[in-house]
Symmetry: none
DNA sequence: CATGAATGAGCCTTCATTCAT
DNA sequence: AATGAATGAAGGCTCATTCAT
């Protein structure tokens, strides 16, 4: 039974009166504009994703947040799942780009240095982690197979680049990335589950995330262990 | 308002014709029978859970699988969420009981032996891992607070017992369990995601789970690392 | 979505421990006991009716309040509607009996005296009025026609008796009763609708029912008007 | 999660074959069309209301009668209760408008003339009367408080206007309206209850409503009585 | 007789998706 | 290209009624 209802229609304020919304062409005609509009939608979804669940985040919400009509969303994404897959993709690409950049800068040579770099690059990716939890369960159903394949292909390609920047053999580097992934997911979940929203009046706690330290410990332990299995050489 | 009711009992197939359904009293009268029926429902849900998502697994499905009417489910569980919480609870209790039993038998004294025991106890808990992913997101909404509290209390209590059987200090043991949890979740997810359901005709693969080895490696590395941080003594 | 659930089962306290429930035979064997049990149910329904709506008052509630099983109710009443029809009947019989008694005592001879008597007899019949609102809409569906007929017959018979105690001709007396009925219903409804449950902290208001005065005014006006239409004679 | 969708548009019967359905745009785009559609729904509900109870009148029925999908109803009304509140509102506004119009035309100066006008305006409002019985019980639950407030505000406002057209003091006029309300409700109910739907083949009876006369008598008696309590003056 | 577990039609409501405009 | 009204399958849940015990 629904008792309260959110106000039905967001008022579309004309841009002449309200400049907070940056000017946007009424229709996306050029390819660039279309890419832009697609991005608008993704950004809207991203914003909402920070405070919502997959189930609770309806296409209606996204449309409203993007200040577009519901139908317009379906011009750019065939299904809700495809939209979210694109969201995962974007987050993932961004994280991989960041990580690659960091590795290029630091050129870490030791397991510890690699761990430092990966950990630094992997802080603050909570939304990504939460998205990854969706993969393989709710996502990838109701998605055109070609799209799934493309997603995997893209990820694989970038992973190859990433791996090339680690000072281990290719298989070893890949393993390390997998461990990073698993640990990130695992600790993300554990943190979410057991970080009770304690209604204590002290929001600024000294230990912002008691689990970050454990995540780091595990990551270092694993990298050390794997690295010790092969002679660390300087080759990419 | 129902005025006329058609005769409507589903034909209970005689066991002579249909042996798959074990004999079951038409009505659960005694407390034992009721516990049994509750269990029937949980088992039906468990069966479906192996091949379904939380969202896709409707109460209708559960009812059908349990060969009961939808309304009957609500005699035993007030909401869908409570049913699933019970499912989590059961899985979790079972895993903890198994683990405790194993620890009692083996009385592991070294980090390696502890890792062996925990790994042995944690194989084949895929459904549990997937259930745990629900906790804190979809679950614990629409559940009577008292039930959530009870669930947490029970888990905590059992964890205390479990921890007492590990040859480390209590805080250290707890940390190790957390790592076990995180790694299990993380690798479960990774395995699910990247184990493509290859429709090849060879089900009996030589490497049943390529990720199990990695999970094991990580677990051992982490336990060793943590154990090395404290002097391993023989006390519980 | 149901969030809170009332405790499922009322504890059946054994009469050895808890004497508040008067002793009651486990089974109603004699006709008297069966009438008694039927009355128990009606009394339970009556109690609940004071604070509930027809829709909200489920058979479950009645069963619980009567400390009987749901199925038992159906031994005495074939449908929910029949139970309520019996409830209406009881209330109505009681009111008519009271009114007849009062008329016998006072033997009112003037319109004003008649109004006095009827008004006195009709105070505090809120539950009856609320029940009467059900008649003809929700009630009398899903009721065996014979029962409806019997109900009407009984009421008619008692009304004949009542009418005989009024100092007007039979048709006139009947009209007056009808006006009493209509006014009672109408003002009951108006009172319910516009008596806001003011959350003021003063329960003992000086004007307990501002509408009672209006009801009385109307009743007197109508009786006077009708009485003036015929020569008031002393015959019954 | 809906994965496959069968083609599912209900065939819109061409007006050549089926003239009963007036032409209607497939989609209500303009504000006027939307108001129109909202009205369509209300009219469908109104039609069904003549032969149904609140409980029996499901949203499914309304949707079918309005030749719309169930979901469409919820675009115009958030809950079933809000739909019915709108229905009450419409009926009530219409009655008040009619009554005000009549009072303006006739400008009644005597109690009898007032009674004439009010009675003339209040014939044939059976559905309204039945709806009013819902107010305060089933209605106003599950309605956004703002809507309830708005409803009350509108009614109050119109009542003020109405009262201004009666040749009594404001409080007296209000009292008279209340009596009208109570008598209408009461006699409506009595009529419904005791007008057996006699399946005789003569619909056009000489006495169309034996209770209308009694209602009128009561109304006149009450107005006279109240009017006699204050000196009737010519002011509004 | 009494029980209360079981039933299932039916309720209101949601929301991804479609399509007339 | 954009809109958003319309759709309807599906959801969780209730409760009068039945019937095995």
């Amino acid at each position: 039974m629904k008792v309260f209802t959110a106000p039905r229609r967001a008022v579309r304020i004309s841009s002449a009166l309200m400049v907070s919304t940056p000017a946007r062409p009424a229709r996306a005609r050029s390819a660039a504009e279309k890419t832009q509009r697609r991005d608008d939608i993704l950004r809207a979804a991203k914003r909402l994703w920070n405070t919502s669940t997959y189930t609770d985040l309806s296409m209606n919400h996204v449309a409203r947040e993007a200040q577009l009509a519901k139908g317009t969303l379906y011009l750019y994404f065939d299904t809700k799942e495809e939209l979210f897959l694109a969201l995962v993709s974007e987050h993932l690409q961004m994280w991989m780009a960041d990580t690659i950049r960091l590795l290029q800068e630091r050129q870490p040579g030791t397991p510890a240095a690699v761990a430092d770099a990966l950990l630094d690059a992997s802080s603050d990716v909570v939304p990504l982690r939460r998205l990854l939890l969706l993969l393989g369960t709710v996502l990838e159903r109701n998605v055109r197979p070609e799209l799934t394949r493309e997603f995997r292909r893209e990820v694989t390609a970038r992973v190859q680049v990433l791996v090339a920047h680690l000072p281990f053999s290719r298989p070893t580097s890949l393993r390390i990335l997998q461990h990073l992934y698993a640990l990130a997911i695992g600790w993300q979940h554990l943190a979410e589950e057991f970080t009770s929203s304690s209604e204590s009046g002290m929001p600024d706690v000294p230990s912002p995330d008691p689990y970050a330290a454990e995540f780091e410990l595990a990551m270092r332990a694993v990298i050390d262990r794997i690295a010790s299995q092969e002679l660390v050489t300087g080759q990419a």
